[in-house]
């Protein structure tokens, strides 16, 4: 048995096995649950990195469930794939790396952060299921399976958002809001899957992409898919769930929720680029996505400035940063049918947008973790009640400065690299868009200066005399993300060339995606 052929499934199956083992282990030893979770997720992280190296050197991989060989996509001369399969290209593994890093860091951070809570076996079980859901959404090559993994991720997130206790009121409300949003989006996705299945009798992404005709029904399916996936990604005007869900969930879960919304964003790009590609009216759909981006950027940041709750403020910033991804990729889509413009600035804009996904997951994760660290020690999320914490929480302060500088797009941090790519390329498409993006970036800086001032600066407050630095495992979790941020900021060229560019090309070139499954067809 050669395990190296089975890496794609092991990445998903090991956390799944751990998710089912955790409640059983929790009966014997409560403390072992967190250790088992961390162990499973670290194995998954190592396997993801191995798979990433393989995909970036060899090419896209397919893994067929239950077939006589993992790569047998078309058994006994069939013209279309009938089995459930994972189909992982450069874009999928790019998202997979984000999920792997974020979930591992989240598990490490939870070890101490969640210690006082009861029902930890359920917490870790759900955390692992959320990771499985995200991995599945990013790896699957089957539309119906995508719906299944979307549901797994949604249900796990709903329970985790309201984990702090349904009798507290606010977590319950946030969880309920997210439940409504995700059931609506899951139903719409299912409806769209039904439309495709009714028309073409197949469910495989690549197989549908090879026969899609952009008929009236396909337009309806696109109209169903784009808004609901944008809603799950938290784009304005469907962002009403983000501030509640992000601010009420425990800090490590908030970080993973950001990655979950990005998995939906990935699905949106996958649908638009790999499924429809040039068969759709790229200019119109591109502008729709750009407008989503503009609204998210601007409304997100203006709402963030007036917030007093630190996590709510960061949640609005998450909405605003999602706008940059929409803007970059939207510009790429708008010029998809025009090869000259695509080569001139379209690809660069998409590189900026896609690179921003990973950067955002890292620095926004770090910021949410520092907010969690402040909450862990002071017991409040209200900025007006904090102050002078830089005296006693030195590491947290440094991590916050790194995160805030990265989100505001200051060099030499990673936010600067991706934002510069977006500014430069979008300027060639439409100067106004680029100017708005820069203004939003300045407003972001302003709002984080405010947070820094009110939480960390000033004299030591008497009520926080006892406050100490957070425990070592939490510092370690934040340090991992900080190192990634600084590394990406110092060597953006390396990342863009080796990781981001292949991802963008695998989105743009539809035949590369369909060819993995359908062979020479």
């Amino acid at each position: 048995m050669n395990l190296s052929n089975h890496i794609p499934i092991l990445i998903v199956a090991i956390p799944l096995l751990a998710a089912f083992l955790v409640p059983l282990i929790g009966r014997i030893n409560k403390k072992a649950t967190g250790t088992l979770t961390t162990l499973a997720l670290s194995v998954s992280l190592i396997l993801t990195i191995t798979l990433a190296v393989k995909i970036l050197t060899v090419g896209p991989q397919a893994y067929v469930f239950g077939a006589t060989s993992p790569s047998l996509t078309l058994p006994s001369g069939l013209k279309f794939p009938i089995r459930i399969m994972f189909q992982i290209d450069a874009m999928g593994i790019f998202m997979g790396l984000i999920t792997a890093v974020v979930s591992f860091v989240g598990a490490v951070y939870s070890l101490v952060f969640m210690k006082q809570h009861s029902g930890l076996d359920k917490y870790y079980s759900l955390l692992l299921l959320l990771t499985v859901g995200m991995f599945g959404m990013e790896f699957t090559g089957d539309m119906f399976n995508f719906f299944v993994f979307l549901e797994i991720a949604s249900i796990a997130s709903v329970a985790l958002i309201s984990f702090r206790g349904i009798d507290l009121g606010e977590p319950a409300e946030a969880g309920f809001k997210y439940m409504v949003v995700s059931s609506i989006s899951a139903l719409m996705v299912l409806f769209a899957v039904g439309i495709f299945y009714g028309q073409y009798d197949i469910l495989n992404f690549a197989a549908i992409a090879s026969v899609i005709k952009y008929s009236q029904l396909d337009k309806i399916a696109l109209g169903l898919l784009i808004p609901v996936l944008a809603m799950k990604a938290g784009a304005v005007p469907m962002h009403m769930w983000t501030p509640d869900a992000y601010s009420e969930a425990p800090a490590p879960i908030t970080m993973m929720l950001v990655a979950t919304s990005q998995a939906s964003l990935y699905a949106l790009f996958r649908v638009v680029f790999s499924l429809y590609n040039i068969s759709l009216n790229a200019l119109t759909v591109g502008w729709i996505i750009i407008i989503f981006g503009l609204l998210s950027m601007f409304i997100g940041v203006t709402m963030a400035i007036i917030q007093k709750d630190i996590k709510r403020l960061m949640a609005y910033h998450a909405v605003s940063q999602t706008g940059y991804m929409f803007l970059g990729v939207g510009v790429g889509l708008a010029v998809l049918a025009n090869p000259v413009a695509l080569n001139q600035y379209g690809i660069t804009a998409m590189e900026g947008g896609i690179f921003h996904i990973m950067n955002h997951a890292m620095y926004k994760g770090l910021l949410f973790l520092t907010a969690g660290a402040l909450f862990f020690r002071t017991g409040t999320k209200n900025l007006d009640k904090m102050g002078g914490l830089a005296h006693s929480m030195k590491y947290t302060t440094i991590f916050f400065i790194i995160g805030a500088a990265a989100i505001a797009g200051l060099p030499p941090f990673n936010g600067f690299a991706s934002k510069l790519l977006i500014y430069e390329s979008v300027y060639k498409f439409n100067p106004l868009l680029s100017i708005i993006a820069m203004v939003v970036s300045i407003l972001t800086l302003a709002s984080f200066v405010k947070v820094f001032h009110s939480a960390f600066l000033g004299p030591k407050l008497p009520q926080f005399k006892e406050v100490k630095e957070v425990p070592r495992s939490m510092v370690f979790a934040m340090a991992v993300l900080s190192c990634i941020i600084i590394f990406f900021g110092l060597f953006p060229d390396l990342i863009v060339k080796n990781l981001v560019h292949p991802a963008v090309m695998s989105l743009i070139e539809q035949l590369q995606y369909t060819g993995t499954v359908l062979g020479g067809m």
Partner: protein, 158 residues
């Protein structure tokens, strides 16, 4: 929840066993007839709901225990994923028992046949795993709903 009248309880005593057996029949014949693990598990779960409603949540606590249900739920889930893993010699979820002659390993007859239980490979085993999971999950759900109802009633009274 209070217990219901003697008539309801007597009828429950009569039909309870039949419902449970019918549910297990659907689980066990999942690979031959319509239904399967989820459907059969739901039928067994409805028997638990019947017991809970007719005997009241306080009395039925003697027969229905949340702790045992969640243990069985775990076993079902682990059995399912282990069956997936054991096909890993070829691919994940590979049906390694089909046509092997042993457990559930007979070759299925093509065309009209009376229905051979001993076919299907790992599919009957997976149906049993899913059935175990679903029936105990249903048990947990109805018990949680009952305790939630008690909780709100207590809150309204105070």
């Amino acid at each position: 929840m209070k217990e219901m009248s003697r008539i309801v309880k007597t009828v429950t005593n009569f039909v309870y066993g039949f419902i449970v057996i019918f549910g297990f029949y659907i689980i066990a014949h999942g690979h031959l007839t319509p239904g399967g693990g989820f459907q059969g598990g739901a039928v067994v779960g409805s028997a638990f709901a019947l017991l809970l409603v007719s005997y009241g949540s306080l009395n039925s606590g003697k027969f229905l225990k949340k702790d045992i249900f969640s243990l069985f739920e775990n076993f079902g889930l682990i059995l399912f994923i282990v069956l997936g893993f054991s096909g890993l010699g070829i691919t994940f979820f590979y049906n390694f028992l089909a046509n092997s002659g042993g457990w559930f390993g007979d070759a299925a007859v093509i065309g009209v046949n009376p229905g051979d239980m001993n076919t299907g490979g790992v599919i009957p085993l997976m149906n049993i795993a899913v059935g175990l999971e679903v029936l105990s999950a249903f048990g947990v759900i109805v018990l949680t709903m009952a305790s939630g109802a008690e909780f709100t009633k207590k809150k309204e009274r105070s």
